[in-house]
């Protein structure tokens, strides 16, 4: 014997009229799809559980307040709510440092935002301009290799091709450039830290 399944729209109408059992059927019918959808985005069972719960709280409130309009289908509507809550979760988790309770210490849960504040940015600019002035004092051949390597991000192979010297010579010039920079920094007690 074939059992006719009651349509979602009928269950929604019955629920709005007060049949709590209709909600139980709707949740039972769609829970796996919605839960899997959320999990496929956040990959964490506890967070999935929270978002699943929040999704249905929103569904229940909307239906009870009579704000639901039967324009679309029930499942796509619930999926859209879940999708929006997943987006909200990622927005929040980017802003708020979180501690997970898995027992392991996670360094990323305690390190702060890496973007610099106004003061640090000014200091960073100052340090960078000091370094540039020090580089200007280096012998021409060493300066050339250092600038190509550090500022132009060229490999030593590319530097050797551009300057017409061997890779070993380029490496040697880089080494002496760094040694000379350290010497000048130590000699004049220049502080280059942020």
């Amino acid at each position: 014997m074939r059992v006719e399944q009651i349509a979602d729209s009928v269950l929604v109408t019955k629920y709005i009229q007060g049949s709590e059992n209709s909600l139980a059927i709707l949740i039972e019918r769609h829970k796996q799809k919605i839960y899997s959808f959320i999990y496929s985005k956040v990959y964490d069972r506890n967070i999935t559980e929270d978002i699943f719960q929040d999704t249905f709280i929103k569904v229940i409130r909307t239906l009870k307040l009579g704000k639901y309009n039967e324009e679309g289908k029930f499942l796509p509507w619930v999926m859209r709510i879940a999708h929006n809550l997943v987006i909200d979760y990622f927005r929040k988790s980017n802003r708020i440092p979180t501690f997970d309770n898995r027992g392991e210490f996670n360094i990323f849960s305690v390190i702060s935002d890496s973007s610099l504040n106004a003061e640090s940015r000014i200091i960073k600019d100052q340090v960078e301009s000091d370094v540039r002035r020090l580089i200007e004092e280096l012998p021409e051949d060493q300066k050339q290799v250092l600038v190509m390597r550090m500022y132009n991000d060229m490999s030593f192979k590319e530097i050797s091709e551009n300057t017409g010297v061997s890779i070993n010579t380029a490496l040697g010039r880089m080494r002496y450039a760094l040694i000379n920079l350290r010497k000048v920094i130590e000699k004049h007690n220049i502080i280059l830290t942020n």
Binding site: E20, L23, A24, I27, E28, K31, Q32, Y35, S36, Y39, S40, T48, E49, F52, Q53, F56, I57, I60, R61, K64, L65, G66
Partner: protein, 47 residues
């Protein structure tokens, strides 16, 4: 025709919320009642 080298994970098909979560939602629904007054709607949660 393009070859597909990935399959939909079967693991995802077996995922379900905890019983406690579903139970909470059904109880929340039973506890929540909306009262209409004039053009206002009040939500009341009964324990």
């Amino acid at each position: 025709m393009a070859k597909l080298y990935s399959n939909r994970s079967r693991y995802l098909d077996t995922l379900n919320p905890k019983e406690g979560t579903v139970k909470f939602l059904l109880e929340y629904s039973q506890a929540l009642s909306v009262i209409n007054y004039d053009k206002l709607k009040f939500e009341i949660l009964l324990n």
